[in-house]
């Protein structure tokens, strides 16, 4: 089972990398880009647990290890 977890800055936290990418896109003429937020993607390959247990443990892993809840939020899904 493969799980993809997306970690990005909370909306209240300034994301200077995202801002820089946005400015670059605007300079290149993509004026329709309103905002850019940069994040990290983790792909976990799981073995030996069922989906229900995975659904319970993934948020725990994300909250405890992969994201810093002070500045980051996360979302996740089980990959088909």
């Amino acid at each position: 089972m493969k799980v993809r977890i997306l970690v990005s800055f909370k909306n209240s936290v300034l994301d200077p990398q995202g801002q820089t990418v946005k400015n670059a896109l605007l300079t290149l003429g993509y004026g329709f880009v309103k905002d850019v937020r940069q994040g990290k993607v983790f792909e976990l390959d799981l073995e030996g647990i069922d989906e229900a247990e995975a659904r319970r443990l993934i948020p725990e892993i994300a909250d405890k290890v992969l994201a810093n809840p002070i500045i980051e939020k996360f979302s996740w899904d089980i990959m088909p």
């Binding site: 936290v13 300034l14 200077p16 990398q17 820089t20 290890v65 992969l66 810093n68 002070i70 500045i71």
Partner: protein, 230 residues
């Protein structure tokens, strides 16, 4: 005073810190291995600079799971002294021993240079050799030193006088230019509420000998050696 300098895989200021404490300031200082469960009876635990675990997830994020961190947490809870320098500060934030988090520097580049800092609170165990408002010249060297905390936390921290050092210009004024990494409220160093745990981004061990360009870092280290909050 007995100091213990924690060695994580990827620490790279561990020897520098030991050198400053032991060879320059003549203190009893030993290394503590991150996989052990032994603080070797030290009075002050120092988490040194570097790239613990390569800083690969986030700065300091994996180091917080090192076995020795349990003892460090207990030591801090007992009122024992803990000093986190640079990467060590980041570890303390990840551990939750200090409030807040670090973001990438505002210019998105690693920054190594001398900076000037204003002493905000001279009554901590880490600053008792300083005067309030004194300007210290100490180097920084980091990529993630842009301090962040939610507004409510910042207000708490200010109210409790936990902010110990701020980035300032040579006259001690807080300016945008002097706030080199973009830290909220120019915060460069913090203590916990109890005052026994301090984290700072500048490297006092790099400013302990005149030969290396300055000795202001001693103000911090010698304050700890003097060992009392005045």
């Amino acid at each position: 005073m007995r100091f213990g300098v924690v060695v994580f895989p990827g620490s790279n200021c561990d020897s520098d810190t030991l050198h400053a404490l032991r060879d320059v300031l003549n203190q009893d200082a030993v290394f503590l291995w991150h996989k052990d469960h032994d603080l070797k009876g030290v009075d002050c635990v120092v988490l040194p600079g570097g790239f613990a675990h390569g800083d690969y997830l986030r700065s300091g994020a994996i180091a917080k799971f090192s076995p020795l961190m349990r003892e460090v947490g207990e030591h801090a809870a007992r009122g024992g002294l803990v000093l986190g320098i640079c990467n060590g500060f980041q570890v303390l934030l990840e551990l939750g021993l200090l409030p807040g988090a670090m973001l990438r520097n505002k210019n998105l580049k690693f920054l190594c240079r001398f900076v000037t800092l204003r002493v905000e609170n001279e009554r901590t165990v880490f600053t008792n050799r300083a005067r309030k408002g004194q300007v210290l010249r100490i180097p920084i060297a980091h990529f993630d030193g842009n301090y962040y905390a939610p507004p409510k936390v910042l207000d708490d921290v200010e109210r409790n006088s936990q902010v110990v050092l701020r980035y300032a210009d040579e006259q001690g004024r807080l300016t945008e230019e002097a706030n080199v990494n973009g830290s909220m409220r120019s915060i460069a160093g913090l203590v916990n509420k109890a005052g026994n745990v301090m984290g700072l981004m500048p490297h006092p061990e790099r400013a302990a000998e005149a030969l290396l360009g300055g000795t202001d870092g001693r103000v911090i280290l010698e304050s700890v050696i003097r060992g009392r909050a005045s």
